[in-house]
Structures are given as C-alpha cells and as structure tokens.
Symmetry: C2
C-alpha cells in the first residue's frame, strides 16, 4: 500500500508513528508529497484521490483509497490486530471522541497558520486567527486536566496528542505551551523517548 | 441521552435523520442550540463539552460526551444494531472514507460561508472562498460519477450526501448544482420522499 503524505504534515506524522508502533511501516510506500496548499489547484489529485485536496491518503494495492488520517489510523490498527484503539464499550467511544477533538485542534491550528501566512496581509483578520488558535489551546487545557490520558499505555489518542504538540513546536515555537501545560510537557518528553516519535519529527522549518 | 444541536446545522441534521431511520429519535433530547459561531466566545461549552466549540455533541446519561457528528452517527448505529454502516471488510473502509469526504465537503462549505458572511468585508479573500467551494463541488462530481452510491439501500453515506445537498439548497441556492449534477438531483428527489429527510429540512433562511 502507498501513503500520499509529506514530512511536514502533522496528520501524516500520526500515521507514520502509528505504522511504526504497529509494525507496519515496511509495508507502506511513502510517496512524494503533492501540493495540497489551499488556493493551489491540483486537478489530478482532486479527481483521482481526494476532492478535498488533503493529505494523507492511503492507497491499497487494489486501488481502494482510504481517507482521512482518522480512518487510515483505524484501518492500520485493525490490520495489526487492534493494538492502539479500544475495540468496544465506552472506552472505544471516548477514544474516538478524543481522536476527533485532537483532529479538530490540528485543523484549527492549520486555519490559524493559513490566516497568518498564506492569506495576503491586507485580508488578515486577527479575531479569526485568535479564535482558531484558542480552540487548540482550550483542547490542550482539556488534556492537562485529564492526565489519565497521558499516563496509560500507548494508544492512538496519545499519538494524536504528541502530533499536536509537535506541530506547535514546529509552527508556533513561541506560544509557550510548555509553561502553561507542564503535564503535557512531561508527556511530550516521555513520548520523545520512543523511536517512532523522535524519527518522525518534522524537518527544520 | 441529549444532543446539543441546532436546526440549521447540516452536521446535526445528519444525526437527526440517522436517529429517525434507526428508531432512536424518541430516546434523544434535542437541547437548545448554543452559540458556536467562530469569534464568539463560549467558555462554558468549550470547557465542559467541546473545546472546538462545534455542534453536535451527544451527552450520554452517565455524562460521557461523544464528539463529532461522524462518531455520534457511528455510536447510534451500533446502538441500533448496525443498520447504516457496513460492519467489516473493504465496504466498511469505503463507507468511512465517503463519510470523511462528505464531512470535509461540509467543512469547506462552512468555511466558504464564513468567508462571505461572517468575516468583515474588507478582509474578504475571493480565492479562499472559491477554493473551499470548489472542494465541495469536486466532491459532488465524485458522487455524480459513482451512481452506485446513490442507488443502493439507505446508508450513512447517502444520509451525509443528502445533508450536503440540503445545505447547498439552504445556503447557496443559486449555485446550480441540480443542473450540473442531474444524478444527484434525482437522488435528492428520491431521498425527499423519506419522512426523516423531509421533516429535518432546515428552517427558511
């Protein structure tokens, strides 16, 4: 199978970490990134892979395309026997809720970044950028207040969270999350001891 | 259980249609909408329900919160015995991929609408609005080209698709989707024969 991805995408990083932890990394071809920047056309990708023009996309050997990173992670986890996601009961729905929230936090950070860097300066709306950033920040507060998520055995929620924190380090290095959220800082340090987390850090900005 | 929602939200409409079709509608209290407009604060909702400040959110009787509409729909479907989502195999992953794409199409339409109506006019960036709208439009082309999705027995993908089309009718009434996508038009007409689809139409704009 092939994963269309890029080294800078936090959504793709989540899949790469999960693939390593699940022992599936060698079964995936990581194919060169495509342009997925908003306002940049990519007709071929939109028509054949994903009309949303987002990455990652997983392409199975029979040509089936799996989208988005949430679904891809669950697909890989099932393929590996279900190691990273609870299979049933309330824990399953809580984990999927957390996964959705963390996905939304990354979406909000991306919208904040697009507002600041992609959009022409004369069209910048500070309230919008601040509002999107605050969604991610309020999400961090949620996990700082629920340290049980941070200390249990490795799961997809933790992998998603470390990708949010890594993206903050990468794109918002001065936001001060480590000081405001010391439990998340300690969690990040622990997670960085894993090869899967360390080797998938985004390239220097 | 309670669903925090609003009558105008296409994401909440998906849950209401699914709940009716699954025979679960009477087990859900639909609670008054909260303000979830970007740049509008809602500290209480952000802290206690969803840091992303989005709806819908499902609150179970024990207080567990389930987010987002994707996950809520899967929760209700499991509760009802799995009528709307394939349980296994490639059809499961294709259905979840379609669900993600349709969710992303709604996200893009909302971003387009926020750009045009929420953002102060002097900060309007036409290329952004057009780009977001095109994602949804390219998504419609995908389903027009795969009419098998439109004619199979009722499932969550069709419910999601009818919510996208209903949202276009509601918020982008002059976009011309019916002419460009005649198979989707016929699909929408067929779906409108269902009580669940007809009775959940958004209120007049």
């Amino acid at each position: 199978m092939k994963l269309v991805s890029s080294l800078a995408s936090p959504f793709a990083r989540k899949i790469r970490i999960a693939a390593i932890e699940l022992g599936l990394f060698d079964r995936i071809d990581f194919v060169s990134p495509v342009k997925t920047i908003p306002t940049t056309e990519n007709e071929d990708y939109a028509r054949n892979i994903n009309p949303l023009r987002k990455i990652p996309a997983l392409i199975l050997d029979d040509g089936t395309v799996i989208i988005d990173s949430y679904v891809i992670a669950e697909y890989l986890d099932e393929l590996a026997g279900g190691k990273l996601i609870p299979a049933s009961g309330l824990t399953k729905w809580r984990a999927r809720t957390d996964h959705s929230i963390l996905q939304g936090m990354l979406d909000a950070l991306l919208l904040c970044r697009y507002e600041k860097l992609l959009r022409p300066g004369q069209f910048f709306w500070a309230e919008w950028a601040d509002d999107q950033f605050k969604r991610a920040w309020d999400g961090l507060a949620r996990y700082e207040a629920h340290p049980d998520v941070l200390t249990r055995p490795l799961d997809l929620v933790q992998i998603s969270l470390v990708c949010v924190l890594g993206y903050l380090e990468f794109r918002f290095p001065d936001c001060g999350w480590r000081k405001t959220f010391p439990k998340l800082d300690a969690f990040h340090e622990r997670m960085m001891q894993r090869d899967s987390v360390r080797t998938t850090l985004p390239p220097p900005a």
